[in-house]
Amino acid sequence: MNGNSMDDTNSDKPVGKAVKPGHEAFMVADNVNVWYGDNHAIQDVSIEIQKNQVLALIGPSGCGKSTFLRCLNRMNDSIEIAKVTGLITLDGQDINSRDLDPVALRARVGMVFQKANPFPKSIYDNVAYGPRIHGLAANRAELDEIVYTSLERAGLLQEVKDRLNNPGTGLSGGQQQRLCIARTIAVNPEVILMDEPCSALDPIATARVEDLIDELSENYAIVIVTHSMQQAARMSQRTAYFHMGKLIEIDDTDKVFTNPQHKLTEDYITGRFG
């Protein structure tokens, strides 16, 4: 099936083109390694993340997708046994350098989690929390503006505008996840990381969130971890396939799904394992 004889599973170099021409690399991970104690969870991964694009990370569970994602906004800092090496830059700036505070980094690289996790506060306060702690609004009117536009862009405003003071935890699962997305974009980040954002949602809610991600990709660089290959195929421009902590293949999504270069990738997307 694949013309190239690149089915050498021991190859250390990932196959495929790392950069799509015409887009600038906005976030670059170079030779990233992660250890959890003795467990070498991410091995020599280099990936470029581009503006106005969706990059999908796929691979069997436990292959390190979440771990890699969490490197990009230093969420692994709080795990004591985790050790991260390698260079990750955001707009040319080393995110692990002393000059860049993780707090400042996370305002620029937002994250949406697998399980919707609204704060046990009102819908309004959920969305307003980020702008409040970063001092993004000078007064109440500005804050209102941020909250309304964020909810609007998350496609949630129509459903909740009459009950902004109700608890966010009272919404349905899909609404909660869109609330979490609204909360993330309220800080106006440059990159949004999403870790299986639809895995707990029903198909209709999933479709809504996918549409939303599609719209958001016009303004943000998005990295999404997903276990659904259809979802990756539908939404992303580029796809990276991980296997046992290694990046096996990264290329345009069409190419990865129609003409995978690596045997492991092919096995995975044709459903032979994973």
């Binding site: 969420m75 702690i133 993330t184």
Partner: protein, 427 residues
């Protein structure tokens, strides 16, 4: 054929074993019920005993007398004289009811029907309302503890005179007063307004209650913020290593140290070394906060651990600092659990006696304390002191004090339960 046979035997066997299984279940249930009811029965015996002995202390026998607020005797210069002979006024009034009693010994016996507080009550009454001067008023005055005990049926009239604290003559007078409607049991306000006293009818729990109040005030003011701060540091900031393990083990150990050891520590450190006053609620509160601190730390850590990590991750992911995560999210969610722990710790302190004995809070103190440095006792110590007194009237007061203590304990535990209910509803 074979199959249906097999089905038959299975059914029979299941049915046979079913009976055994249910019998076993019934036996187990019966044992459980028996255990529960044994426990409840002991509790019931305890309460019935306590209430039957203690409730009478909430009433006190009073004698009604016609008091003549005579101008020449009580206000010779026109103004009320605080040093006038009020005792004589009260005595004369009682004697006028029994004009036949002339013998000096008998007269003394007659006067002793009244509490020593009677003359003070009359004095206070006049001081509060000087317009009473020159009038004669019917006044209910406290009877002595012996009269009180006779009225409450706690003194056996059938034994010979010298085996009881009340003479035949006094019994006669009591019966006469009773027949004339001059003896009545009224609500015992003295129990709640007075400090301790050698005279049972004057002894109250006010001093002990205030002592306990000031002590718990010091305890909660110290132990709660310290305990919560320690819990937050240990859970959210401290690195996990050998040191934090050591601290953890020590805190759990501290919670199990017998309270008297804390009392000795308080004696050595606060009184001998820091020269803080003996018998003061301040020192009692300090000792009790040492005692409560591990309880609050353990409860607070559990409350913090119960905060879902996903909430913390969400806040971190938005760029909240560690401080902000703790104060905006962890603390509000853990607060009810922390308060529950604090109340349980307080309830434990409320009943502590042993460490207070060590720091001198077992002294006989008449004055009601007005601050944390005044000498005081605490409610459980007061119970201990009264239980040690030989007078029959103190026995009922001991039970009454226990009832008050249990009522406070019940209130505190109720508050803790209600708080936990609210806490559970959140998720």
């Amino acid at each position: 054929m074979m199959n249906s046979n097999l089905g038959q035997t299975t059914r029979h066997r299941v049915e046979a074993s079913l009976k055994r299984r249910y019998a076993k279940e019934r036996r187990f249930k019966a044992a459980g019920i028996a255990a529960t009811f044994t426990g409840l029965a002991f509790l019931a015996i305890f309460f019935v005993n306590l209430v039957s002995q203690g409730t009478s202390a909430f009433q006190q026998t009073m004698i009604s007398l016609e008091i003549n607020f005579d101008r020449t005797a009580l206000a010779p210069d026109g103004d009320v004289d605080p040093n006038a002979d009020y005792e004589a006024v009260v005595r004369d009034s009682l004697r006028s009811l029994f004009p036949d009693v002339t013998d000096r010994r008998e007269r003394r016996q007659l006067s002793s029907l009244l509490s020593v507080s009677a003359s003070y009550d009359v004095k206070d009454m006049l001081a509060a309302d000087p317009t009473l001067l020159g009038s004669t008023q019917t006044v209910w005055l406290s009877a002595s503890a012996n009269v009180d005990m006779v009225i409450k049926g706690n003194i056996n009239r059938d034994v010979p005179q010298d085996l009881r604290t009340v003479s035949d003559l006094q019994l006669l007078w009591i019966d006469e007063l009773l027949a004339a409607g001059r003896l009545e049991k009224k609500f015992n306000t003295a129990l709640f307004t007075n400090g301790d006293s050698r005279e049972p009818e004057l002894a109250g729990i006010r001093g002990a209650l205030m002592g306990t109040f000031y002590m718990l005030l010091v305890t909660i003011a110290l132990a709660f913020p310290l305990g919560v701060a320690a819990a937050i540091y240990l859970e959210e900031f401290a690195p996990r290593n050998r040191w934090s393990d050591l601290i953890e083990v020590n805190i759990n150990n501290l919670a199990a140290v017998p309270s008297i050891v804390f009392g000795l520590l308080g004696l050595a450190v606060f009184i001998n070394w820091m020269s803080l006053p003996r018998s003061a609620p301040l020192v009692g509160g300090l000792v009790l906060s040492l005692l409560t601190l591990p309880v609050i730390i353990i409860a607070s850590r559990a409350a913090i651990q119960a905060v879902p990590p996903s909430i913390k991750e969400a806040a971190f992911g938005l760029g909240a600092s560690r401080m902000q995560v703790v104060f905006h999210h962890v603390l509000p969610l853990a607060m009810p659990g922390m308060l529950t722990g604090a109340i349980i710790g307080m309830a434990r302190s409320l009943g502590e006696t042993a460490p207070l004995l060590m720091i001198g809070m077992v002294a006989f103190i008449v004055d009601v304390p007005g601050s944390v440095t005044d000498p005081a006792t605490a409610l459980p110590v007061q119970i201990y002191l009264w239980a040690d007194s030989p007078e029959r009237a103190f026995a009922e007061r001991t039970s009454a004090a226990i009832i008050v203590l249990l009522a406070f304990l019940l209130l505190m535990n109720l508050a803790a339960v209600l708080m936990r209910k609210r806490f559970e509803k959140r998720w």
